[in-house]
Amino acid sequence: MAVDTAPAPALVDDRAPARHLKAGITYLVLGALLVVVALTWLGGHSTTVAFDKTLTDVRWDVPTFGVVLALGIACAAAGAWMCVGLPQRRFKSASAAAVAAFVLALLFWAYSQEGTVFRAESILAGALFLSMPYIFGALSGVVCERSGVINIGIEGQFLMGAFTGVLVANITGSIYAGLAGAMIAGSLSTMLLALLATKYQVNQVVVGVILNLLALGFTSFMYDQLKKADGLNDAFSVPVISWGPLADIPVLGPVLFQQKLFVYVGLVMVLVVWFLLYRTRWGLRTRAVGEHPAAADSMGVNVNRLRYWNVVAAGLLAGFGGAWFTLGNSLAFNKNMTAGLGFVALAVMIVGRWNPLGVLAGALIFGFTTQIARDLSAAGSSVPGEFLQMLPYAVTLVVVAGLIGKAKAPAADGVPYNPGDK
């Protein structure tokens, strides 16, 4: 669109120092704020870090003042460097460092309150566990959108998985049957999306939102109906798998080797989907279908059939993620228990730039945020619990606003393909 009246930006040499005034000033201000906070409030405070699972007698008392001051200065320095001008290739790492310093300082500040202890192992393990629905949902989104179908219905597939998982587990008495049921339910609900998106070429955003409502209505309706019958919605729990001696390694043990099945499946699926997308023939075709379906078609790929089966397969992942809400958390099903996390997963997919490894990173950030919010509100923070609960949603908002313009979706994402058109 050539309607912009602003003068064209001057051509910049990539290796020459470049200024990033907007970002630089932002980090400078954030860093300065931290310094001010440290100087005015944090004198004499200390933050306690504990290793609560393996080394129960170790507690580190860190002076909050010094840490926040140092991190604030680091953040401001990164900002100043950007204002002065830094080599283009250093920009990414500089801004990552500035953000990390800022977040870390906030953490130290939050946990400097009397009575709060940063229980490093529980918090990190919990963060990994809480990132699982985002991983499954976002991976499902990645598979759909890489093949050119927008899946806004992840929330609905979560609900279907969560509901069916508990139902099947109760009927059969087996958690694993429940997990399989959840996957099939998720896949059945994406099948509708796949059918409408490929065969009937319906607008995918509209259908996705409707499928969410449909899943909400269906699961709530069935929940009310089945509540009358006994023993169909009892909580089942997935056992914690502990890897013997590995589980006793400080920090790493509780986080990686003492988790529920979901965590292992989630981490493995990240690698599997990455491998499938970038190292196999199927992956090449899928990406081709999402970027340029007409070209893929001319090379003999049946675009709509591939899209259909990819979306159906993605439903398996989302359904498994849905089971996390009930079976994973040892909870019975409840109406609308996914509480918008399916949409957060969509944001994670965007943060991860439609790449499974990026999804893992994004999901970990969101899981960590959620875990910190929960931990702080349980510890009785001075910030109202409602605001802490808003944190994942607010982060999603910021992330989507900050990234979506820069992250490129697959070119044919959401565009129905009709072979006759070309």
Binding site: M1, V3, I150, I152, L196, Y200, Q201, V202, N203, Q204, V205, V206, V207, V209, I210, L211, L213, L214, L216, G217, F218, S220, F221, M222, Y223, D224, Q225, L226, K228, A229, K335, A339, G340, F343, V344, L346, A347, I350, P384, E386, F387, Q389, M390, Y393, A394, T396, L397, V400, A401, G402, I404, G405, A409, D413, G414, V415
Partner: protein, 429 residues
């Protein structure tokens, strides 16, 4: 049916030449043709029928007794048949009685034991539940015309509720000033909150579906927090209820002179006025022209010198204001005694279905708000015999078919209408 292939032929413009060749179209023939065609009217009718059919199947499957009769279906099929029939008739009658006319009341009215007002109660409930839906439906529908999918009506409604509530209890004014001011406050609060996704989309390209869903969650949590503050929290009750609105800011009821239980209030009139205004805005004003131009083709609109970003922002603000007025209708109307976290129900989400069923036309939105209001009133009065979520389920099923006319066409083997199938579009990332 057999000539459906000719109707689908792409080279349509000179088609009238083929028409006169057939023998003179009489009324029955045209009517039959109309019935078997996937035009918007028939798709709507068939969607409703299909949805109620699916609802019936789910009722049968999920009802324990009826399901048990199917276990010996081959021994005594009549048991299963009668049980299913009774279940369906009872459930849908209960919905009808809660929404339109209660037959028991009708009998006692004819026997002279009930007043006329009692007879109107289900209708009044339908109108009461339809009122917020008109506003939220307009909020979603208006944004649709600009190519924006506003899922944030729920949050906008919540903020509208709070805005109207605060003006409603904190100011001391005569009624002719207080009431309009409180209503406007609701609209402004909703509009400001609704503008956020618009601004984000205009400035950063963030997709409005995600940002408005996030804002819905934020608004719901904010309401929980706000209700707990001393400023909003009720001084008499201990549970999470707000202060009541002053008498001078309460929307007067329309029919309570007939019977005090008739809750329908002035908000209904405001809602219809808002629909008329939205119609005027969309089809007669410059702003509406810009909205539609951007919705049809943003590149063309940009080439014509329209500012896309500011259109997104203003459209979302206007949509938010409409939803906010719906919030005001709740806070100053049925919930004037104090709002809770439950007051907003799912009006915002139902607004999506209302707008889709109404095909983003103000007139259609009012009609579908009435239909879904009736469903809601019926479901609420029929519970616990009928699960209350049957209304959500039916709504979602109806609009699924509405949004996918090709599906209805394929299921029922309908003809393609002259202008093609009518669908609503929302943009991807």
């Amino acid at each position: 049916m057999s000539d459906s292939t000719t109707a689908e032929a792409p080279a349509e413009p000179p088609a009238p030449a083929a028409e006169p060749a057939e023998d003179k179209p009489n009324f029955m023939r045209l009517f039959g043709r109309y019935l078997t065609e996937a035009n918007s009217v028939m798709v709507t009718i068939y969607s409703l029928l299909l949805a109620f059919l699916i609802g019936a199947i789910l009722l049968i499957v999920s009802d324990e007794y009826t399901r048990s009769t199917f276990t010996y279906f081959f021994a005594r099929p009549q048991d299963a048949w009668y049980a299913s029939r009774d279940l369906i008739v009872e459930s849908y009658t209960a919905l009808f009685e809660g929404a339109i006319l209660n037959f028991n009341t009708l009998e006692s009215y004819q026997a002279g034991q009930a007043e006329f007002g009692n007879l109107l109660r289900p209708l009044s409930e339908t109108l009461t539940y339809a009122t917020p839906l008109i506003f939220t439906g307009l909020a979603v529908g208006l944004a649709f015309r600009a190519g924006l999918f506003n899922i944030g009506a729920q949050g906008q409604l919540i903020f509208g509720m709070m805005g109207a509530l605060i003006v409603g209890f904190s100011l001391d004014l005569p009624i002719w000033l207080h009431l309009p001011l409180a209503v406007i406050a609701g609209g402004v609060a909703g509009g400001l909150f609704g503008a956020i996704p618009g601004v984000l989309k205009a400035s950063t390209g963030a997709h409005e579906v995600i940002s408005s869903i996030m804002l819905n969650n934020i608004a719901a949590l904010f309401l929980v927090w706000a209700l707990g503050t001393t400023f909003l929290h009720s001084t008499v009750k201990s549970d999470l209820v707000s202060k009541p609105v002053d008498d001078t800011a309460i929307l007067p009821t329309l029919l309570s002179s007939l019977n005090p239980s008739l809750r329908v209030n002035l908000a209904l009139v405001i809602g219809i006025a808002a629909a008329v205004f939205t119609w005027w805005l969309l089809s007669k004003s410059t702003f509406g022209f810009r909205i539609r131009a951007v919705g049809f083709n943003e590149h063309a609109a940009a080439t014509a010198g329209m500012r896309i970003g500011s259109t997104y922002t203003t459209t979302m603000a206007a949509a938010g204001a409409l939803a906010g007025l719906g919030g005001a209708a709740l806070a100053l109307g049925v919930s004037s005694g104090g709002i809770t976290t439950n007051t907003a129900l799912d009006y915002g989400f139902s607004g999506i279905t209302v707008a889709l069923l109404g095909r983003a036309n103000p007139g259609g939105i009012v009609a579908s708000a009435l239909l879904f209001g009736a469903l809601k009133a019926g479901a609420l009065s029929a519970q616990p015999d009928v699960p209350v979520d049957i209304s959500t389920l039916l709504q979602a099923t109806i609009v699924l078919f509405i949004a996918a006319p090709a599906l209805v066409k394929a299921i029922l083997h309908l003809r393609t209408p002259r202008g093609g199938l009518v669908t609503l579009e929302a943009k991807g990332w």
